[in-house]
Amino acid sequence: MLLHIIRKELLDQLLNLRFAIACVVCLAVFLISSIVLTRDYRESMSTYNMNLVVHRNEVLQISEIWRLWQGLTVDRPLNAMNTLVKGVAPGLTESVKVQGGGRLDFAETYEQNPVKPLFPEVDFVFIVGIIMSLLALAFSYDAVSGERESGVFKLLMSYSVPRDTVLIGKWIGGYLALIAPFLVSFVVGLVVMALFPEVEPTLDNTLALIGLLLLALLYLAAVYSLGIFVSCRTEIASTSITVLLLVWVAFILAVPNMAPYITTQLLPVPSRESVDREKAEMQREGWRKMEQMMRDEQKRTGEENITWNKDNWSEEFRTEVEDAQKKLGEEVQKVEDSFTTRMQDQNRWAGIIARLSPLTSFNLAAFDLAAAGIEQERLFVEALKNYGQTWEEYSRQKRETFERYREERRKSGQGFDPQAMEQFNNLDLSDYPRMKFEYMSFRDRLGRVYVDILLLLLWNIVFFMFAYLSFLRYDIR
């Protein structure tokens, strides 16, 4: 009997106008999106290769010792998953200046085509999250109430078929009809991508691709179950779609978009610039204090020639200055830590509020599965900092002889002679360490997304359970 109901539901949907609409919309959107995103990727690949050569040559052309302090520019390797999911990174390619002491300089770029930022990027996440979710509602709003209105339901229930079988049959049949155009369009999109030899699939990315597909199916199942649930709660199909569209507007369009702004109001955090200003002010104040200490020391000892050269300092004064420096460092770090903690709190609560919508869970999980999410950004910055240390170490080794010479000159009381610097130039940096950055492995990505997957599963179970409970008491007359 279950099979009969599934078949009937499937046929009903396939012969309906909405199926034709879904096929046309899905195919068109997936096709155009995959062509454009893959072309973008191909162009970015050539830009990345060009940047790589330019930046390598820049390093190899360094011959003067002073240029070692300027650091070098490294490029972010391309992520093939960006052909499906754009993610949070500012662009497909990015060049970052890495300097000693963990200092990183990210160029602040902005889109040159001013029309583009006005509209959201049409990638896999947008297509599934917004367009497909609306189609899922269009497929499910009249599953129960529509049949009741047309009188088919009364006829169906006159047979000896349990209500759970009817509901499950309807769910499966309708869901299959919904995902059929989606799957076909997805495969067409993949075929288009495969036509571009620049997109080289790796094992991690292939698994992530399957993961993305399953995630999309899970998300669509949750929205579809919501549609069935509302359909079971209403008696007229038009009421059902009204309620569903309002729920969709509230939970897909309003909640995720408003959540970060609401959290900003509830848990305000000072801006990055104001924290930097506060830190700079503290440092200035600290230096003023230390200058005063220096003047006091000069007065106390009567020696005017005490300078910032520690060799001339008394043990007591040295301890005093070091303590002041340590205290200043701790206070500055305290401000930074307080900002980080408050920002993390704000992010956490924004995530919690935004997750009231299944779209947020889907979006964040898709970003992480594609290694294009917030965690991947953090790891990239982390890797850059580590590389900064490696470069610092390498550069220190290259400067070793020069530093020794400078120290000797300083100790012997001789000033620095710029002419003598010449003998330390003509550097050979052909063995400089290259930055190796790899995107998260599939196992790590899964470790990040399981909470969102569980949340989507929960939405599925809750909506289906409610639908089942409502259907058991549904008045079919």
Binding site: A107, E108, L118, S274
Partner: protein, 466 residues
């Protein structure tokens, strides 16, 4: 009779379930959008003021240097920053406000951000769209307008009331106009109440500070929103006169909404990138660097070949390199202009894009903001550059500076007046210019209205009411 039809339509709408639910949602969304965006604007404005004060105090610190020569050296070493003031009406339409840099360096193409800048922000802002007033109108109101009207004609046919209505001596045009007016009034009145409620909040909190100009712009955006809602309402009415079943009308309405709101405008920049590709900015910059390197190598060759070098030949090489770079930049800008124009024109196939372009133009936050920003940046950097370049010559020629053993000694500090330094100023259009520039999009919306109503009228004249 017209009045009776209008009254019946209004009562029918007001008493319906969807009216209550829709307006509860609409009120919440519009008020919340205005409240959140007002706070967001205030934060950005405070940040702007703090940055301006910081820059000012840096200049005051410089002014305190007593030794004129030291002041001159410090001035040459200091890099100045220009601050971009947030646009007041970004409360209603954020547009490109969040996309453009808030600070501009006095020299160099871009500013650099630290790793703290990069990670120390709420990333969810990057993932989701800004829920401003224009977003709510553009996406939510268009859907609600369709939802209100999709069964205006076919729903009455299904219920049999249309047959009853047409049995009276009432012309079809009166019925259609009555339905349109009644339906539109029942959607426009509560919408207007919500909007003016939100405006009252903005006005009372003092967030709107551009005086009469701001009020005029707000009213124009409000009227534009009514024209836009009317376009979707008329479209829904047309679909209702085309279909004979409410379910069909609803599906067609949803399809049209998906295509016009989610697909066409969002795909337009994507398709424009396909049809009118532009080389990446990085590629252009790399090519410019290559031209510079080539010119340097040529000049190096001349220096080695001739003992004193050939100044004329070197200047020619420099001029030629500059010319090639300008040509490259022009090529890039031309290509970009073509792509931008194509993106806009393709997006205008949807009334959603026309509304967005016109509303952001009136708010001063649309694509024009990007142009104004680029011009202001170029002007600011040129002024700073020429100030630095001319300063030494001016001081020397006026006898306020002299060279001793290759070092420059400046005699007085009067040349440094913090108030006279170039500032980053973005010109804003006056309201008439904004309206004139946005008129094409407004007219497009009017054309959509007229077209849909004409089609609705044609379909309704032949509509089978039985």
């Amino acid at each position: 009779m017209l009045w009776l039809v209008i009254k019946k339509e209004i009562i029918h709408n007001v008493l319906s379930f969807r009216f209550v639910v829709t307006y509860a949602l609409l009120f919440c969304l519009i008020l919340l959008a205005m409240l959140l965006m007002t706070s967001d604007y205030r934060d950005r404005f405070q940040e702007y003021n703090a940055a301006v004060n910081k820059e000012r105090s840096r200049l005051d610190e410089l002014k305190k240097i007593d030794d004129p020569s030291e002041l001159f050296n410090e001035f040459q070493r200091t890099s100045f920053t220009g601050m971009r003031e947030p646009r007041n009406l970004s409360i209603l339409a954020r547009g490109l406000e969040g996309e453009l840099p808030n600070q501009v360096p006095g020299a160099g193409f871009m500013r650099f951000l630290s790793s703290e800048d990069r990670l120390g922000k709420n990333m969810l802002f990057e993932i989701f769209q800004t829920p401003d007033f224009v977003y709510v109108i553009n996406i939510v109101m268009s859907l609600l307008a369709l939802l209100f009207v999709f069964d205006a004609v076919c729903g009455e046919k299904e219920q049999g009331t249309l047959k009853l209505l047409m049995a009276n001596s009432v012309p079809r045009d009166i019925v259609l106009i009555g339905k349109w007016i009644g339906g539109f009034v029942s959607i426009a009145v509560p919408f207007s109440v919500a909007v003016f409620g939100g405006f009252a909040f903005i006005y009372i909190t003092g967030a709107m500070n551009s005086g009469e100009d701001g009020l005029t712009r707000f009213l124009l955006i409000f009227l534009l929103a009514l024209v836009y809602i009317s376009a979707f309402f008329t479209l829904g009415l047309m679909i209702s006169t085309l279909a004979h079943r409410t379910s069909t009308a609803l599906l067609i309405s949803l399809l049209v909404w998906i295509c016009w709101i989610l697909v066409v405008p969002n795909m337009a920049p994507v398709v424009a990138r396909l049809v009118a590709p532009v080389p990446g900015r990085q590629v252009i910059d790399a090519e410019k660097q290559a031209i510079d390197r080539e010119a340097q190598l040529l000049m190096e060759g001349i220096r080695k070949r001739k003992v004193y070098g050939d100044q004329k030949e070197m200047e020619q090489i420099q001029r030629s390199a500059e010319k090639r770079k300008n040509k490259l930049e022009e090529f890039y800008q031309d290509k970009m202009q073509t792509q931008v124009a194509m993106s806009q024109n393709l997006a205008r196939l949807s009334p959603s894009a026309s509304f967005l372009f016109a509303a952001t133009r009136l708010a001063g936050t649309g694509p024009v903001l990007s142009q104004q920003f680029q011009k202001a940046r170029e002007r600011f950097q040129e002024q700073h550059q020429s100030l630095r370049n001319d300063l030494m010559r001016t001081l020397y020629q006026s006898g306020r500076a002299e060279f001793n053993n290759g070092r420059m000694t400046v005699k007085d500090s009067d040349w440094f007046q913090p108030d006279d330094l170039p500032r980053f100023r973005m010109f804003a259009e006056d309201v008439t210019t904004s309206f004139n520039q946005g008129l094409f999009d407004v007219l497009l919306l009017v054309v959509f209205n007229v077209l849909f109503f004409m089609l609705a009228f044609l379909f309704f004249l032949r509509y089978d009411v039985t």
